[in-house]
Amino acid sequence: MSYLYCDQKMFYPFRIAEIYAFIINNIFALIVMMFFFELKVILLIFLLNCLLFWIIYHISNMIQTSPRTKILLDLYNYKTIKTVDYLNLYTVEDLLDHRLKRFNTSKQIEINNNIIKHKKTKGILLNLVYYIFKLLKSL
């Protein structure tokens, strides 16, 4: 429902629809659960909701931005294709353009006449996600 209402608007790196769905779902679920379950079950269900949110975020992010998923979905359409032909169809230029567009909309960079400037100040949420990924990478 929230996808129908909010479309694909982003509050980078999340979609607004996902944030609304997460908040509304948790508020309603927590209110209802208070009447039926003890605290430890409520907290566990809240943790499960957070995990579900994290999983949906990653899957949608994977579909939208991952080159490997794009290659697989392209191959599903092409059935069989010469490797050289495919490397001409999906190029590094496309990959860079899409990423620069996303960085630009999230105000991470500024583009002026093909000159790219990296902005060092980021939002709290973006910083948080960046450091979570850095932490996970170091594990």
Partner: protein, 161 residues
Amino acid sequence: MYFFINILFIFLFVLISNLFFTSKDNFTYIKIAKIYLIVLFIFILFSIKFNYLHFNQSFNTLCLIMNFMFFISYILIIGIRFINSPSYDIINYLRKNNLCEKNKILIYLKEKKIIKERIEILINEKLIVSQNNTIRLTDNGIVFCKTFLLIKNFLGINSEG
């Protein structure tokens, strides 16, 4: 108690898989999923044997669901340990060379052979097969694509790459 046992299980699983999968050459998603399912099965058997798991207690069942969801979350992010996301490479390049031309980033990315490297990983994962300079999906790849197409259409998102 069972909650903390599950957390300990996940923690140990992550630790052991990090020691086991040290490079991208010996890592595949199928391998890690198989190992997890086997270890989870043994874990459930031991939980029942030592009276920690009773299926009539919803809390314990929820703990097992949590365990599985932690694994799904882990498997979705483990890939970044072995291969950098192009976004990560671009941002790192920009941090070192702020105010640079688009062409320079393009040259840097071309040197890394990002797309070719990913095709090789997919071949290693047995999701695609390469024969006579052509590539096509394997049966596993088709299942993967059908699942992702379903999710993609449900969420209404485009695959940009």
